[in-house]
Subunit: 312 residues, 2 copies
């Protein structure tokens, strides 16, 4: 198994990414190889500083970097030797089994769709976000930003993608799928959610538990929260604000601590032909490490194969 | 000035509403009269208990109540002597200058639109929600649930309504209007927000400051947050969850305390021909009192006249 990691992605790269890679290495088993993609010259001093043998990992040297603020499609076209482009090329060619980066989110999304491409039958891939649950464990919300406008059949598919992720990666049996809405009753909502409800209530593809509301994100009503990417993105950013506020105000609490994305590392893009994970721009080493371990988990559980056969 | 209050509305009515009315009375000036609408027999014992002279307020006896779970339009049609129906009839006939209730939200919305009706030129009235700001004071978000599907021109009008409310009721000079979106740049968003941005950036009707994100609800980027009623409702319920969590976990903080809706009493429906306020179902006396004082403020500042001339 070869786990690809972009060491140039993120606000604190390459220091945070290299340190994260070293930390991840300690958790890997024989046969699980980390493939670092980026500027080797910039990485070597950190290996040395940590007394880490560079031969423990594979290295693919790249000369270009896609910046956080660059236009995704333009950057992908104009920087073929960037760590993100090289990573996706290797993923497409099967030289790595997964690819993760804390770099430019748009470039990661575009790169995934241009290289490994969307799984046949999937209308639109989604960016998912792992959300902490009050009781224990985690749930998943999708889409959180890849698709600002969605159609009912796209949301229905997000239910399938989320259900398989929850079952395989979060170890939830028969996960409960909820549709974000503005009331519990079937007839509530906007045109999109009303039509989606009608599709979801008849589906046999997952365990639909009905509408959920903004107040249900952290409770046990649903393990998988389905929404369009506009609503999901607004919710995610609002939730992050509260987490940051509790930090600033010095509130210490087990639940709020679970908002720390460092624990789970990144947001998987679901619906493409390989495990692809986008990390938070401000990812520290701990987040990078967990992004690598999440990649491994997605490879080990054969999540992509399971999604592919669900859409056959 | 006659301030109408439904004493049958809310989960703790009529006790909470009558106690709230008594508390509000203490803050009223000569010439400001509270008109209580509801079952007089049920209210009198609470007046007696509080040694409050019933002659301090006007009373309009009603025999029916619209329950919290009833279908709004049906209930409005079938219960003409309910406190909500009588209140709106009086408001339409000019017998009261404002009407507030912590009862059935849908019935309040339908009642307002059927009786005093939408202000000429306003496409759709909006339910607004007062939101606390981290620095100090309050802002306003609209729509939070009256319109699950919106068009760009409707959102543009919400900007006008919110701007006038912020200026007149929240005392903010030249209020900053922000559009909820999933990125700051003009081209970001879904079809609705992209088209709305184009309208808003050219408007002279208010001070548009551009896109704001989920993370900006409580900061100073915008005083008025404009969004469709689906997004607003989901955000509001998510924000409430956090407030409830901080309470449950015993976090005490000045900012989080401002989430307590008791402080501002209720959510004004903006865009109808009279001041109408919907209170939270679980309103205690303090919230009812502040709903009455907000009603007075809306009458005193002639907010409705100002909105009407803005749409002429």
């Amino acid at each position: 198994m070869k786990i690809g990691l972009d060491i140039m992605g993120g606000d604190y790269a390459p220091k945070a990414t290299v340190l994260g890679a070293i930390a991840a290495y300690e958790s890997l088993e024989p046969g699980e190889t980390l493939v670092l993609i980026g500027d080797k010259e910039q990485a070597l001093p950190y290996f040395k500083e940590q007394n880490f043998n560079p031969d423990n990992v594979e290295f693919v040297h790249t000369t270009e970097v896609i910046g956080m603020g660059e236009h995704p499609t333009k950057a992908i076209t104009q920087k073929p030797d960037s760590s993100i482009c090289v990573g996706f090329r290797m993923l497409k060619e099967g030289k790595i089994d997964s690819f993760a980066s804390a770099g430019n989110t748009g470039a990661m999304l575009v790169g995934a769709m241009f290289s490994v491409k969307t799984i046949p039958g999937v209308i639109r891939p989604a960016i998912s976000s792992i959300v902490p649950k009050l009781k224990d464990g985690f749930g998943i919300m999708l889409d959180v930003g890849a698709n600002a406008d969605c159609k009912p059949d796209t949301l229905l598919q997000f239910g399938v993608l989320g259900s398989l992720f929850a079952e395989n990666i979060l170890d939830i049996k028969n996960p409960k799928i909820g549709l974000i809405n503005i009331g519990e009753e079937e007839e509530k909502g906007n045109l999109l959610t009303q039509a989606t409800y009608t599709l979801m209530k008849d589906t046999t593809m997952f365990n639909f538990v009905g509408n959920v509301e903004g107040r249900d994100l952290f409770n046990d009503k649903a393990d998988v929260i389905v929404c369009d990417g506009f609503t999901g993105n607004v919710m995610l950013k609002l939730a992050e604000t509260f987490y940051i506020l509790t930090l600033k105000k010095g509130f210490k609490d087990e639940f709020f601590a679970k908002f720390n994305y460092e624990q789970y590392g990144g947001s998987p893009i679901l619906g493409v032909n390989a495990p692809v994970i986008i990390g938070h721009g401000i990812s520290p080493p701990e987040a990078i490490k967990n992004m690598v371990l999440l990649s491994r988990n997605m490879i080990q559980t054969k999540l992509i194969e399971k999604i592919t056969s669900a859409f056959k």
